[in-house]
C-alpha cells in the first residue's frame, strides 16, 4: 500500500527501536497518519471533515463513558439521574451538554463529509470499499444516536422510541411480533431502556472498529483530491505530517469554536423542550419529532400518505430505508469516467441546484408539523431525491461530456508539471 516514495519510519532512539522490533505500533501510526502517508497536495478544507469526525467520535466515547458512571438505565430513576448529573456531579452539566451537542456536531461533520464524497464522487473506483464502509458507519451512527436520545427518558425519548420502533410494525406478517421482540414488551418500557443503554454503550466501539477498516481501505489507493486525477508522481503529494496535521489542526480549532459556542451558550437550541418533561405514556406531545439530524429521512417517511397496493406506512418505511441504502449502490449507478464535480458541468448543476436545495427542504419539512403545505413540499422533494440518485445520476453519467482534466495534481496547483511530462531530469524551459 501507499506510494513508493512514502517515507520510511526510522526509530530515533533505543526505546522506539525496541518497540519497532517487538510491536511496530509507532511505525503503524507513522504510516497511517504521520509522515509515512503521502497525501495529494491540493486537498481543500472539505478534506478536513474525516479527521473532525474521528475527533467527535472520540469525544462522544470519552464523555459518554463518564456519563455512564452516573446514569442509571431504569425508567424509575433515569430522568432523575440525568438531572443529578446536571446538578450534583462536578462539571456534570458540561459533560452532558458536550455529549448531547457532540452528537449533533458529529452529524454536522459527517453530513459535510458525505456530501463532499458525493460531489467529488469519492465512491468511484478504486475507492468503493471506503464508501461502502462509510455508509455502514453512518447507519451505525443513526442507530446509536437514536438509542442515546431515548436514555434521558423524557417525553421525546419515549415517544420517539414509540414512533421509530412502531415503524417495524409496518412490515407485513412479522412486523408486530418483531416490534415486541425488539422492545421486550408492547411499548417502550424498562426492558427497552435497558437494552438501548447496553447497545448505546456497545455500538460506538463497533463504529470505532468500522472507522479503522474505513481508514485501512483508504490507505490502499490513498486519499482522493479535488481534481479527481490520481496521484502520478511524488510532486503530487506531501507527507500527511506535518502538512495535513497542521491544516487539520487549524480546521479543528475552527470547528471547536463553533461547537463550544453551542455547548456554553446555546446548549439546548438543538434539542427539544419536551425532553425536559419526564416520559409519560399517558400524555402524547403535540408534535413528535426526532432529533434534527434525522429530519430529512423523517420527511421522506411522512411523505408517503397514499395506499398504493401497499399501505402508505409501509411505503414510507421502505422509502426511508431505501433513501440511505441507495448510497450503497452509488459506485455502480454513477458510471462516468470523471470523478470531480468541478469537471462535470451537468452533474454539477444537478448537485448544486437539485440535490442540495432538496436536502435543505427535507431538513426543514422533517421538523415541521405534519400538515400542509409541508407534506406536499416534502413529497416533491422526496420524488426528486429518488430521481436524483436512481435516474438522473445514471443517465447524466452516460451522456455527459466532462470538461478537460488537468494532466496531474501538480499541474492543477502550479499551472504546469514539466517533470512529469518530460521526465525527472528535465530542465525548466524558459517561456
Amino acid at each position: 500500500m501507499s506510494f513508493p516514495w512514502a517515507k520510511e519510519y526510522t526509530p530515533q532512539n533505543g526505546v522506539m527501536k525496541f518497540f519497532d522490533e517487538k510491536l511496530p505500533l509507532p511505525r503503524f501510526i507513522y504510516n497511517a497518519v504521520g509522515a509515512g502517508y503521502p497525501v495529494p497536495r491540493n486537498l481543500s478544507y472539505f478534506w478536513n471533515f474525516g479527521v473532525l469526525a474521528g475527533f467527535f467520535l472520540v469525544l462522544q466515547i470519552v464523555t459518554g463513558v463518564v456519563l455512564a458512571m452516573h446514569y442509571a438505565a431504569n425508567t424509575q430513576v433515569a430522568f432523575a439521574t440525568v438531572e443529578h448529573i446536571a446538578r450534583d456531579v462536578n462539571w456534570g452539566w458540561l459533560m452532558r451538554y458536550t455529549h448531547a451537542n457532540g452528537a449533533s456536531f458529529f452529524f454536522v461533520v459527517i453530513y459535510i463529509h458525505i456530501f463532499r464524497g458525493l460531489f467529488y464522487a469519492s465512491y468511484k473506483p478504486p475507492r468503493e470499499m471506503i464508501w461502502l464502509i462509510g455508509v455502514v458507519i453512518f447507519l451505525l451512527m443513526m442507530a446509536t444516536a437514536f438509542m442515546g436520545y431515548v436514555l434521558p427518558w423524557g417525553q421525546m425519548s419515549f415517544w420517539g422510541a414509540q414512533v421509530i420502533t412502531g415503524l417495524f410494525e409496518a412490515i407485513p406478517l412479522v412486523g408486530p411480533p418483531l416490534k415486541t421482540w425488539l422492545l421486550g414488551g408492547f411499548a417502550p418500557d424498562n426492558a427497552a431502556l435497558n437494552r438501548f443503554f447496553s447497545l448505546h454503550f456497545l455500538l460506538p466501539f463497533v463504529i470505532a472498529g468500522a472507522v479503522i477498516l474505513h481508514i485501512w481501505a483508504l490507505h490502499i489507493p490513498g486519499s482522493s483530491n479535488p481534481t479527481g486525477v490520481e496521484v502520478k508522481t511524488e510532486s503530487d503529494t506531501v507527507p500527511f505530517h506535518p502538512y495535513y496535521t497542521a491544516k487539520d489542526g487549524f480546521g479543528l480549532g475552527v470547528a471547536l469554536i463553533v461547537f463550544m459556542t453551542f455547548v456554553f451558550f446555546l446548549p439546548n437550541t438543538l434539542g427539544h423542550p419536551d425532553n425536559y418533561i419526564e416520559a409519560n405514556p399517558l400524555s402524547t406531545p403535540a408534535h413528535i419529532v426526532p432529533e434534527w439530524y434525522f429530519y430529512p429521512f423523517y420527511a421522506i417517511l411522512r411523505a408517503f400518505t397514499f395506499d398504493f397496493i401497499l399501505p402508505a406506512k409501509l411505503w414510507g418505511v421502505l422509502a426511508m430505508f431505501s433513501a440511505i441504502l441507495v448510497w450503497f449502490f452509488l459506485p455502480w449507478l454513477d458510471k462516468g469516467p470523471v470523478r470531480s464535480g468541478h469537471y462535470r458541468p451537468l452533474f454539477r448543476k444537478f448537485f448544486w441546484f437539485g440535490l442540495i436545495p432538496v436536502m435543505a427542504v427535507l431538513f426543514y419539512c422533517g421538523g415541521a408539523p405534519a400538515e400542509e403545505p409541508y407534506v406536499m413540499i416534502s413529497q416533491i422533494a422526496t420524488a426528486y431525491y429518488f430521481l436524483h440518485f436512481l435516474v438522473i445520476l445514471p443517465i447524466i453519467s452516460s451522456i455527459e461530456r466532462p470538461d478537460p482534466l488537468p494532466f496531474s495534481i501538480t499541474e492543477a496547483v502550479l499551472g504546469s508539471d514539466k517533470k512529469a511530462v518530460l521526465g525527472e531530469n528535465a530542465e525548466p524551459v524558459a517561456t
Binding site: P242, G249, G253, F264, P273, P373, F386, L387, L390
Partner: protein, 285 residues
C-alpha cells in the same frame, strides 16, 4: 443491469410519492382548512420589558430577585406545585448563609418516620432534603385540581420554548376571552374550571390565576410587589431551578472561547509556515 433496476426502483418510489402528492393537492384544493382558535389567538411568550439579569453572554444572577422569586414560590406556587429536583441545600446558591438555609429548611415539613415507632409522620426538613410535593401522590393531585395534575416546576423554564419568558407571560397573561374569539370559535370558550390565557398552548388552562393582586406577597426587601414584579421574580427563580449552573456555564464559556480563538490563530500561522515551501508563489510578471 444494476442501473436498470435502480432506474425502475427510483421511478417506482417517485410514482407512489407523486400519487400521494396529487391526492394531497386535490384535498388541499377542494377542502378548506378550518382556522383554529389556537392558531388565531395564541400569542408568543415575551419577557419583562427590561429583560432578565441572566440574559446574554455576560448575564449574571440577580440574587435579590432570586430570593424574592423563592418567596413567591414558597408563598404562592408551592401550594400546588412541587420542585422535586431542588434540595434546600441548593438555596445556598441564592446568597443565603448556611444558618439561613438550615432555618429556611426547618420552615418546611417533609414526610418522614417516627424514629421510635417507625410510623409515618411529618418532620422538619433538613438542608439535605428535597422540596416536598404538596400532594401525597398523583391521584390526590388530580383529585384536588379538577383532574389536571399541577406539573413539577424544577425544569419548567427548560421544558417550554422561551421558558423564562413563557412563565412571565403566562402569569401576567390571564384575561377575559376576546369577544371576537367567542363569536368565531364558540367551542374555544373556557369550560368549567378553565381560564383563558393566550400564552397557553390551547388557550384555556386549569390553573386559576395565581397572582391576582398587587402586594399579594410582602417582599422582605421592600420591593413593590406588583403582579409583573412577582411574575418576573418567580420566572427568574424558576430559571435558576431549571439550571443552577447557568451563569457558571456562561462564565466558563468565555475564557474557553478566548483560548480556542487564540489557539486557532496560532494554528493558522503554524499551518501557513508549514505550507510555505509547497504553496505556489504568486508570480509577479
Amino acid at each position: 443491469m444494476i442501473r436498470l433496476v435502480g432506474i425502475l426502483v427510483g421511478l417506482g418510489f417517485t410514482f407512489v410519492v407523486l400519487l400521494a402528492f396529487v391526492t394531497g393537492a386535490y384535498t388541499a384544493a377542494t377542502e378548506e382548512v378550518a382556522e383554529t382558535a389556537e392558531h388565531a389567538f395564541h400569542e408568543e411568550a415575551h419577557g419583562p420589558e427590561a429583560g432578565y439579569s441572566f440574559d446574554g453572554v455576560f448575564g449574571t444572577w440577580n440574587y435579590a430577585q432570586l430570593q424574592r422569586g423563592y418567596q413567591v414560590y414558597k408563598e404562592v406556587c408551592s401550594a400546588c406545585h412541587s420542585l422535586k429536583f431542588v434540595a434546600f441545600r441548593d438555596l445556598a446558591q441564592l446568597g443565603y448563609s448556611e444558618a439561613q438555609v438550615k432555618a429556611e429548611a426547618a420552615t418546611w415539613q417533609v414526610p418522614g418516620i417516627n424514629p421510635d415507632t417507625g410510623e409515618n409522620e411529618m418532620r422538619q426538613a433538613l438542608p439535605t432534603d428535597y422540596f416536598p410535593s404538596p400532594y401525597p401522590n398523583a391521584v390526590a393531585a388530580a383529585a384536588a385540581n379538577n383532574n389536571a395534575i399541577p406539573p413539577d416546576l424544577s425544569l419548567m423554564t427548560k421544558a417550554r420554548h422561551h421558558g423564562s419568558n413563557y412563565v412571565y407571560s403566562l402569569l401576567t397573561g390571564y384575561q377575559q376571552p376576546p369577544e371576537r374569539m367567542l363569536e368565531d370559535f364558540p367551542d374555544a370558550a373556557p369550560g368549567t374550571g378553565l381560564y383563558y390565557n393566550p400564552y397557553f398552548a390551547n388557550l384555556n388552562l386549569a390553573m386559576a390565576p395565581p397572582l391576582t393582586s398587587d402586594g399579594q406577597v410582602t417582599y422582605a426587601d421592600g420591593t413593590d410587589a406588583t403582579i409583573s414584579q412577582m411574575s418576573q421574580d418567580v420566572a427568574a427563580f424558576l430559571t435558576w431551578t431549571a439550571e443552577p449552573a447557568l451563569i457558571k456555564r456562561k462564565q466558563t464559556g468565555l475564557p474557553v472561547l478566548g483560548f480556542l480563538l487564540f489557539a486557532t490563530i496560532l494554528a493558522w500561522f503554524a499551518k501557513k509556515q508549514v505550507w510555505a515551501d509547497v504553496k505556489p508563489k504568486r508570480r509577479k510578471d
